[in-house]
C-alpha cells in the first residue's frame, strides 16, 4: 500500500517560509473571507453545517462538536460563553502551540464563526501559562482583528458584537479538564465540577451555558463553514471525518506534526514511512497513541474481532502496523485517539522506568479533591519509584494494578481514568518487566526518573 499524502487543512501554512502571524499576511491568503460569508447566513445554518460535518472534538474525548453545540441551553435568558481550550497540557501533544504561534488568525476566524453561530457575545481563550509568547501573539492578533472590525463592537457593520479575551493559566494540568478550566477562569482553584449537574452547556462559566472547545476543533469549524458540512464529511472516513494532526514524539527518526485524513493512515505508515522508522540499531517496543493518558500498545501485538463498517459487521485481524488511526479503531483495540499525541518508545526503554515517569506526572497533577485519585496517584508513583530505586518486590505488578483499578470510575473527573490507564496497561502488556524487575533489563536508555 502506498503511503497517503498529508492533507494540510489546519496546518496549511505552518512552517511555510514567508508566512507571518500578522493580519496582513492572513488577509493576503484569503483570511476572514469564510467569516464574511458565514455572517451573511443564518446562525442556525452554520450549526447545521457543523452537525452534518461529523466533526469530533480534537481536545481528547472526540465528542461530536455539532451535538455539543445543540445541547447548549438557549432558553435560560443568561449569556452564552465560548471558552477556547488552549491549555495543551496532555503530555505528548503539541499541535495547538503551532496554530497559536504561527497562524493565530485562523483560530480567531474559527472563534468568531462559532460565536456568531451560537449567539455568544463573550469568548475567552484559556491558554496555558507556559505559552507567554503565545499569549502575547494572540493578544496582538485580537487587537488587529478588532481594529479591522472583525471582532469587538458591531462586527462587520452588523449589530452583533463579540469580545475575545486571553486568559493565562499558571502551570496546572487539570486546567485542561473543561470544568476545572471554568473554575480556574472564575479565579479559583481548578477543582473539576461534578456532572450532573454541572454540564458546561447548561451550568458553565458563571453558571451560564458555556461551550468549551479545543483550539484545533475551532479551526476545523472555519473549514467546515468554508466547504460545507457535507463536503467536509467526505474527508476522512465515516464517523471519523476531517483531518487530524498527529504529534509524534520519542524514538522515531523524524518526530513532528503530521496532518492526515482521519482513518486514512495506519500506525505502520505513520511511524515507519512518514516518521522514518526506529532510530538506527533500535526496534519499536511500545507506543502510546493519544497522549500519555491513553493506554499503551505493545509493538508486535495483533488485534482480532468484528467491527461495524457502515451498516455491516466485518472481521478484522490487524497487526499493530495495520491499525487505521481513527477514534473508533483505536478504541476497538483498547486505547484511544485522545489528543493525537503519539509517543514512541524503542527497546532502550525500561517500561517500569517509563511508567514511573508517567506516574510522577499524575501524582503531581491530581487536584486532590477525590480520595482515590489523590492517594492512588501518589501510591502508584511511590511504588514505581521504589521499584526503580532498588526496592522492587515480586507482588508490585499486582499491587499497582489493584491501586489503579480502585481509581478509575470512582472520581469526579476523567483524570481518574487518565491516571489509572497508564498503570493498568503497562502492567497488563509488559507484565514480565514488572514481575521480575531488574534495573539492567535494557541498555542504552537514559534516566527517566
Amino acid at each position: 500500500m502506498s503511503v497517503p499524502q498529508q492533507r494540510r487543512l489546519i496546518f496549511a501554512h505552518i512552517d511555510e517560509p514567508g508566512y507571518t502571524n500578522d493580519l496582513a499576511c492572513y488577509l493576503k491568503h484569503g483570511g476572514y473571507e469564510v467569516m464574511r460569508r458565514a455572517f451573511a447566513r443564518q446562525p442556525a445554518e452554520i450549526i447545521e453545517e457543523v452537525k452534518r460535518s461529523g466533526l469530533r472534538g480534537r481536545g481528547g474525548a472526540g465528542f461530536p462538536c455539532g451535538v455539543k453545540w445543540s445541547l447548549v441551553d438557549r432558553k435560560s435568558g443568561k449569556p452564552i460563553y465560548l471558552v477556547v481550550n488552549a491549555d495543551e497540557s496532555e503530555p505528548g501533544t503539541f499541535k495547538d502551540r503551532y496554530i497559536i504561534h504561527q497562524d493565530p488568525h485562523q483560530l480567531i476566524e474559527g472563534i468568531m464563526i462559532t460565536c456568531r453561530a451560537n449567539d455568544v457575545r463573550q469568548a475567552y481563550i484559556y491558554i496555558r501559562g507556559e505559552f507567554p509568547e503565545g499569549a502575547r501573539i494572540l493578544e496582538k492578533a485580537i487587537a488587529e482583528a478588532r481594529a479591522a472590525n472583525l471582532c469587538g463592537p458591531r462586527v462587520l457593520g452588523t449589530d452583533y458584537s463579540c469580545e475575545i479575551y486571553v486568559h493565562r493559566g499558571a502551570g496546572a494540568y487539570i486546567c485542561g479538564e473543561e470544568t476545572g478550566l471554568i473554575e480556574s477562569l472564575e479565579g479559583k482553584r481548578p477543582y473539576p465540577r461534578i456532572k450532573p449537574p454541572y454540564f458546561p452547556a447548561v451550568l458553565g462559566l458563571y453558571q451560564c451555558p458555556t461551550i468549551v472547545n479545543n483550539v484545533e476543533t475551532l479551526c476545523h469549524v472555519k473549514h467546515i463553514a468554508d466547504m460545507g458540512g457535507e463536503a467536509y464529511a467526505h474527508i476522512g472516513t465515516p464517523g471519523n471525518t476531517g483531518t487530524r494532526i498527529f504529534c509524534v514524539s520519542g524514538h522515531v527518526q523524524r518526530p513532528g506534526t503530521y496532518e492526515y485524513e482521519v482513518g486514512k493512515i495506519t500506525f505502520g505508515q505513520l511511524l515507519n514511512d512518514v516518521c522514518g522508522g526506529p532510530l538506527p540499531g533500535r526496534q519499536f517496543k511500545a507506543v502510546i497513541p493519544g497522549g500519555s493518558s491513553a493506554k499503551v500498545l505493545r509493538w508486535g501485538e495483533r488485534y482480532r474481532g468484528r467491527r461495524k463498517v457502515g451498516a455491516e459487521f466485518v472481521e478484522y485481524d490487524w497487526g499493530i502496523e495495520d491499525v487505521p488511526l481513527d477514534f473508533d479503531s483505536l478504541a476497538l483495540i483498547g486505547s484511544m485517539g485522545g489528543s493525537g499525541g503519539v509517543i514512541v518508545m524503542d527497546d532502550s526503554v525500561n517500561m517500569v522506568e517509563a511508567l514511573a515517569n508517567i506516574n510522577e506526572f499524575y501524582a503531581h497533577e491530581s487536584c486532590g479533591q477525590c480520595t482515590p485519585c489523590r492517594e492512588g496517584s501518589l501510591w502508584m508513583k511511590r511504588i514505581t519509584a521504589r521499584m526503580v530505586h532498588g526496592g522492587a518486590r515480586g507482588e508490585d505488578g499486582a499491587l499497582l494494578k489493584s491501586v489503579a483499578d480502585q481509581i478509575a470510575g470512582r472520581t469526579i473527573c476523567a483524570f481518574g481514568e487518565a491516571c489509572s490507564w497508564p498503570t493498568q496497561s503497562f502492567v497488563a502488556k509488559f507484565g514480565e518487566e514488572f514481575s521480575g524487575y531488574s534495573k539492567n533489563d535494557t541498555e542504552g536508555g537514559t534516566p527517566l526518573v
Binding site: 501559562g129 479559583k188 482553584r189 514524539s249 510522577e360 527517566l448 526518573v449
Partner: protein, 162 residues
C-alpha cells in the same frame, strides 16, 4: 505595594475583562509576579483588597498553581521539561548539566544568584525533545552539549552586566 505604573494600568484593564471581579485573580498574580518577581503576603492582601475578596481566596490560588512562587528566584529561570517524551530523549541529563554548570540544585537559587533551575511538566513541544525554557524563551533539542552552550551564554551575559 510598590508596582510600576504600567503594571497598575494593566491590572485595571484586566479587571474590565470579566463580569465578576474574582476572575481577575490569575491575571493580577501574573502581572505582579512579572513586576516584582514573586508573590509576597503583601501582594496577596493587595490583590484581595483590589478584587473585594478575602486574602484566603487569593492565597489558595497562589499555593495551588505551580507557576506562582512565594520567594524570589535567580535572575534567569531555567525550566527543563521532565515528562516522558523529553525524558526518553535525555531530559534528565540536560537538567543535571544545568545544575552542574551553575553549581546548584533543582528548585534553588544558584550561589551567584544568577539562575534557578527547575523541572517542569510537559511544555507541549515534545517533537523537539528535550526542551527547556529560559525565562520566556523556548529552546529545542537541548542535549547536554547544547545545555552547555546555553549556560555559557547566560554566564557571559552575567559577566557583561558586572
Amino acid at each position: 505595594m510598590n508596582l510600576k505604573p504600567d503594571t497598575l494600568r494593566s491590572i485595571d484593564e484586566a479587571i474590565t475583562h470579566y463580569p465578576v471581579k474574582r476572575s481577575a485573580v490569575l491575571p493580577l498574580l501574573h502581572l505582579i509576579q512579572e513586576d516584582v518577581g514573586f508573590i509576597s503576603d503583601e501582594a496577596i492582601e493587595w490583590v484581595a483588597a483590589k478584587l473585594e475578596l478575602q486574602p484566603i481566596n487569593v492565597y489558595e490560588v497562589v499555593t495551588f498553581y505551580p507557576m506562582f512562587r512565594r520567594k524570589p528566584i535567580g535572575r534567569r529561570h531555567i525550566r527543563v521539561c521532565r515528562t516522558l517524551s523529553c525524558a526518553i530523549m535525555g531530559g534528565y541529563r540536560t537538567c543535571a548539566e544545568f545544575e552542574r554548570q551553575f553549581g546548584t540544585q533543582k528548585g534553588e537559587v544558584s550561589p551567584d544568584g544568577e539562575v534557578t533551575v527547575e523541572f517542569v511538566e510537559c511544555l507541549a513541544s515534545c517533537g523537539t525533545a528535550p526542551v527547556v525554557m529560559v525565562d520566556d524563551e523556548l529552546h529545542e533539542k537541548v542535549d547536554v552539549a547544547k545545555a552547555g552552550e546555553i549556560a555559557a551564554r547566560i554566564k557571559s551575559e552575567a559577566a557583561a552586566r558586572k
